[in-house]
């Protein structure tokens, strides 16, 4: 595809009642890059992720995802309220009605975006390999009848899914634990499994929410390597939230800094390191040297 940006976020706003968690967030993510979203605690990083993945319905602005050969407006597929202009144009009316009735966050994933969570959300009572199979259901022959009769096409698609699952288990180094329950794995293994599961949906962009939280230095290093593998060998664009600055500076091509729901800086790692606004946001500014945003 020709377009350079896989994700375009414009004037994104998210209000919870009177609380403005996000105020006018604008950034682009380049295809094939590793980008990081950083900021102090409570800056709204996870809220941005929740809006991107359809977990929240954004209050305003637009999020355009350009993946899987088409442009998808993430806010539109979640189902928007009707506007008066819809009653004049039947096309717009039925478009909106369709997403109101059948829309939802599953469409965001089908459009080519997947994510992991800060607090791990595996299906703890399923085995490791089943966690990966569930993520692939959109591509498997889904007919129930085929499943009960165990037809040849169904068995074929199941074995393809299994093969892919084991491929990803190999990438995250969990093959030995394939038949254990996901809830039994250690913390670091669960983190890796979550990334594998996100990748099993075959996304073009994967959003990792604090993938290194709670990992020891050698695990973090392995994770850094793995993220490079995702980008280089699987053409995935990676967007991550991370507090481990060493890792962020090491791995990212592009960094967006958020504070109090506003983007205060964006650019390459070197530019960000020396940006006075970023330093002020992290360390706190002196009272007399007011930082203007």
């Amino acid at each position: 595809m020709s377009q350079e940006n896989i994700l375009t976020v414009e004037n994104l706003a998210m209000h919870f009642g009177g609380i403005k968690a996000l105020n006018d967030v604008t950034f682009d993510i380049k295809r094939g890059s590793v980008s990081a979203l950083i900021g102090p605690n409570g800056a709204g990083k996870t809220t941005v992720f929740n809006c991107l993945t359809g977990f929240y319905k954004a209050t305003g602005g637009s999020i355009m995802l350009s993946a899987c050969g088409k442009e998808t407006s993430i806010i539109k597929v979640l189902g928007e309220p009707f506007k008066w202009t819809d009653f004049i144009s039947p096309v717009a009316f039925f478009g909106r009605l369709k997403y109101k009735m059948f829309g939802g966050s599953h469409l965001v994933n089908r459009a080519g975006l997947s994510r992991t969570f800060q607090n791990i959300r595996l299906f703890k009572e399923m085995s490791v390999v089943e966690n990966l199979l569930v993520a692939q259901h959109t591509r498997v022959n889904r007919s129930l009848i085929a499943g009960i009769l165990n037809t040849k096409a169904y068995r074929q698609s199941e074995s393809d899914a299994l093969e892919r699952a084991f491929y990803w288990l190999g990438v995250v180094d969990l093959v030995d634990s394939a038949n254990r329950l996901a809830g039994e794995l250690s913390y670091g293994q669960q983190r890796r499994l979550e990334i594998a599961r996100a990748m099993c949906t075959n996304p073009e962009i994967v959003c990792l929410d604090e993938p290194a939280a709670g990992l020891n230095p050698s695990e973090t290093e392995a994770l850094t390597k793995m993220i490079r593998v995702l980008r280089d060998e699987h053409n995935a664009t990676v967007l991550l939230i991370e507090h481990d600055m060493g890792m962020v500076m090491d791995i990212s091509d592009y960094i967006v800094v958020l504070d109090h729901g506003v983007v205060i800086a964006k650019g390459g790692p070197d530019a960000i390191k020396n940006d006075p606004k970023v330093v002020a946001a992290y360390l706190g500014a002196e009272e007399d040297e007011e930082v203007t945003l």
Binding site: T53, G54, F55, F102, G104, S105, H106, V108, N109, R110, S114, R115, F117, R121, F123, K124, E125, M126, E130, L133, V134, A135, H137, T138, V140, R142, L144, G147, I148, E158, R197, T201
Partner: protein, 303 residues
């Protein structure tokens, strides 16, 4: 001795019927955490559809029992499944994100609507279907005998088959995996691209279909039914679901069998007047020692 065996057979058939209906309660509870009070009435609707299907088939001149049975099963299961889908669509889905009590009230409303709708359209009198399958198997035991009607055998066979197929679907197929994933974490399942609304609809349809299976079998066996028949059997099946651990599929089947067996044994050996007292006392006892039911997992409730 013979009476114990006789009541064991009766209890097994009764229990498998309870188990079939309990599946609907337990699956719906598992996936959206609500108690579908209209489920007993879905069973009642299926009894009426059974009668209509038999009437239709005989009207077209079909007289052989196997064809009537298969035709009735097919028609009733399909139409009742459609009822399940519609009920979820109009009464529960619009309330998906509101408080759990709202859905509960909506379910009670749906139950009343179904009862009154059937009463209006089919009349308030008791209805009946003719006995289609007669005959029984007799087994000599000591100086007495145990009598198993062919209908009871059929009930046992079809309900165990239904449960077997369902267990296979939930454990092994794609759809089952999607159901289990949605049950464990609905939002996460949706982020992995699973259309959770569709999965929830499917669960309601499966529950209604299992109730319809029970409806056809019981109606063919007892012959008589009215618009209120769903209430008491619904309560019993719900008890079975709670007994086995609500939310657990094998639990519902086990709970149904235990409830049916204990009820039949108590009725046969001690007193049939107090059999309901006994089965509900059993429920209380089991809940005192295992608050989450026999196979249920303890869960932190966030009402």
């Amino acid at each position: 001795m013979d009476i114990v065996l006789q009541q064991l057979v009766n209890g097994l058939t009764l229990g498998s019927v309870y188990g079939l209906i309990a599946i609907g309660y337990t699956m719906v509870y598992g996936i959206i955490g609500m108690i579908n009070f209209a489920h007993g009435d879905v069973y009642m609707v299926s009894a009426y559809i059974t009668a209509i299907a038999i009437a239709l088939l005989t009207f077209f001149g079909i007289e052989s029992f196997p064809i009537i049975l298969i035709g009735t099963l097919f028609l009733t299961v399909a139409v009742t499944g459609a009822y399940g889908w519609v009920i979820e669509r109009i009464a529960y889905r619009p309330l998906r994100n509101s408080s759990r009590l709202a859905v509960l009230i909506s379910a009670i409303g749906m139950s009343l609507i179904l009862q009154n709708y059937v009463q209006l359209s089919q009349g308030a009198n008791q209805q009946g279907v003719p006995t289609l399958l007669t005959g029984a198997m007799r087994i000599e035991v000591g100086d007495g005998f145990v009598q198993i009607t062919y209908m009871k055998l059929l009930i046992l066979f079809i309900s165990l088959l239904g449960m077997g197929v369902l267990t296979y679907v939930i454990q092994k197929t794609k759809l089952g995996r999607m159901c289990r994933a949605t049950q464990q974490d609905r939002k996460m399942a949706s982020i992995l691209g699973i259309d959770t609304d569709k999965v929830i609809s499917t669960v309601f349809v499966i529950g209604a279909m299992m109730a319809a299976l029970a409806g056809v079998l019981v109606t063919l066996d007892y012959g008589a039914f009215d618009f209120y028949v769903g209430f008491i059997i619904g309560i019993k099946a719900f008890t079975a679901a709670v007994l086995g651990g609500i939310g657990s599929l094998p639990g519902a089947m086990l709970g149904g069998l235990i409830l049916g067996l204990s009820e039949a044994l108590f009725a046969g050996l001690i007193s049939s007047d107090y059999k309901d007292v006994f089965s509900f006392s059993l429920l209380v006892l089991i809940l005192v020692f295992r608050p989450s039911g026999l196979l249920g997992k303890p869960e932190v409730e966030k009402v």
